[in-house]
């Protein structure tokens, strides 16, 4: 048991890893520097699209769970979501943005997604 008087743990390395992971560097402010503003705006737009896409997916899952989608509806929703996902992957590639970057930190409200 390692103790420093105020912090006690048997696994300091694991906790350091997780704490630092939790403190990930999500920018709180959108960088409005004119040189990078276009990428910043593209990022903002993609974040919003991603938010909507995830909400649509979640909603679809709930309906599948509840069994309230017909066979044909499942087919259609699946196709739409699949196309959306592929499109997003394409756009992410074009702008060189990774999944982790497509998020917004809302301060006390936590992360958007």
């Amino acid at each position: 048991m390692i103790t420093n008087g105020i912090v006690e743990t048997d696994s300091p390395e694991e906790f350091i890893e997780e704490i630092e992971r939790a403190q990930n560097v999500l920018p709180k402010k959108i960088d409005a520097n004119p040189k990078t503003v276009e990428k910043g705006l593209a990022k903002l737009v993609l974040i919003l699209i991603e938010l909507i896409r995830k909400l649509l997916e979640k909603q679809a899952m709930r309906r599948v769970e509840a069994g309230s989608l017909s066979d044909e509806e499942i087919e259609r929703v699946g196709e739409t979501l699949m196309k959306l996902e592929n499109k997003m992957d394409e756009l992410k590639g074009i702008f060189g943005l990774k999944d982790e970057e497509l998020n917004l930190n809302l301060g006390p409200l936590g992360d958007l997604m």
């Binding site: 390692i2 103790t3 420093n4 105020i6 912090v7 743990t9 300091p12 390395e13 906790f15 350091i16 704490i19 630092e20 403190q23 990930n24 560097v25 999500l26 920018p27 709180k28 402010k29 960088d31 409005a32 520097n33 990078t36 301060g107």
Partner: protein
């Protein structure tokens, strides 16, 4: 054994940082001439000992500080 002790010091520091940089009483207003900027909070232990310039290099982007600099 030394490594574990060093790590335990690190985790203590992380716990302190989490509180001291981000929690507690936050005073705002004209009378405050300096406050730990929220951007600093998420940099963790690795950049702790760096100056602002080195922080910018490590993050690979300009350090957006108080309002004057952003303009």
């Amino acid at each position: 054994m030394n490594n574990v002790i060093a790590k335990s010091k690190d985790v203590t520091l992380l716990e302190i940082l989490d509180r001291v940089l981000d929690k507690g009483v936050v005073i705002a207003g004209d009378m405050v001439i300096s406050v730990a900027d929220v951007d600093l909070i998420y940099l963790g232990l690795k950049v702790l000992l760096s100056s602002v310039e080195t922080m910018e290099k490590l993050r690979g982007s300009p350090f957006i500080g108080p309002m004057q600099e952003a303009k």
